[in-house]
Amino acid sequence: MIEYRNVTKSYGGKQVVKNLNLTIADGEFVVLIGPSGCGKTTTLKMLNRLIEMDSGEILINGKNVAEYNPEKLRRNIGYVIQQIGLFPNMTVEENICVVPKLLKWDKERMHKRVLELLELVGMTYEESGKKYPNEMSGGQQQRIGVLRALAAEPPIILMDEPFGALDPITRDSLQDEVKQLQKRLGITTIFVTHDMNEAIKMADRIVFMSGGEILQADTPEEMLRAPANDTVREFMGKHVAKTRMDDPALHCGDVMKKKVLTAESSKKTLECLELMSAREVDSLVVVDSARKYLGIVTIEALRERGEAGRPITELLDTSAPTVQVDEPAQQAFGKLLASKALNYVIVLDEQQRVVGIITRTSMSKALASVVWGVKK
């Protein structure tokens, strides 16, 4: 847990962070947002002591950051900046290993970690490990920047407009990757941006700052529904077009069909065929006993490779498109339109449990509700 308590910082008599109080739970993804110069970066950097506060305290798991040796503190807090700042004299592998090396990990462990991390973002060691930063695109560099911050498995990671300088497509995929990694690894994250769309996409909680103060700290949903005052509303309004199909306020959970035909992974070929013909469908969503999503099984797979008594886990197709229940519905529509094989997208909750599906019908209904103002 991270606690800011009455934190204040001034430059030349001007308070840029005013008596700030903020508590962040373990594993939470907090996005700091607000107009330029409102003190986001200052707030962030006081945590890893790149900036020393004037008064107040910041506690990590109850211990004041001022009591740590700043260098040791920073080795346990991942740090990603907009300008990336990879070390140009080091290869990708060496860049990633900077903090592990400071922590004196042995060679083998470091190398294993590099392989593991590169794989997380779909890069291979053979292709990228020995490259130098200047041989890579901006997007790839920032991927490495993120991996470098994650390398020593820090419990906390700070990101200051990490994707601000990237093109929209690269930014979008990096946002997805980071969000997924963060969820999977359960890292407490403080993320600075001034892009409201990014905030809504990434945040568990958005902290809106202005003039060194927190105006509102709420979930994205709540922030959109009830902006605390006009400053927040105006800022949101600029970024969020409320009456459009790609309205990020419209979440997958709002448009999905909740009745899903699922099959438990213990089921065998024939049981599934039976189920499919009874309900006239050509695929089933396979879940484990906790309703966690495992994959789908299609009628083709059953026909081609199924035999009596064969468990369906051997016939799973795991490439079906999935979305999270709190993601913007726009995501699901995009995936649906892009997917040729399957005519629905599977909606998962935070524990990866299947909670619904979005079909083309649900998409057109949602579209109608936006265009005609019909209540869903």
Binding site: E71, K72, I81, Q83, G85, F87, L102
Partner: protein, 198 residues
Amino acid sequence: MPWNRVWEHLFLVLAGSGFTIIFGLALGITAYLCPKISKAILWSVDVLQTIPSLATLGILMVLFGGGKTTVIVGMVLYSLLPIVRNTHTALNGVSPAVKEAAIGMGMSRLYRLVFVEFPVAFPIIFTGIRISAVTSISVAVFGTFVGGGGLGDTLYRGIYIQNMKLILFGTAALMVMAILMDSLLNVVEKRLFKHSMK
């Protein structure tokens, strides 16, 4: 032909450059680490260079007497500037993002200097070393006036006895030495910095 003078000259250049590099880097890094005294350091080194090398040697001879030591000290004082200035400029020029990342990763001051700032700045520092080494070849010629030997002796004698061959030999040897030194360092530079240049 006086080949031993060539070797002697080479020795002066190598010894002089070696000390210049050591002191030059030390001063350049100090100037970078302590901005308060950086002006003073750069100014002093600048002033040293404006004194004619013959005058410098003259003063040093009064202090140290004649001989090779005097020449080497003179060469060091005279060729410090490019190294000190390039070191200071290059370290200051390391991108702020790289510096911030290094601090943010939890590196200590010394660690940052040794493993990040210095390596990143090294191509420019190396250029300073190259300039300084090549300059020192001609500075060493003045060594003859304080009894330091080297190709200065050959040239001076050639002029004194009006022997054209001797003069040409000395001049050619100096030129070849400078060209070789420059291209050798050029190759080293290319080898070392394939990647660090952005």
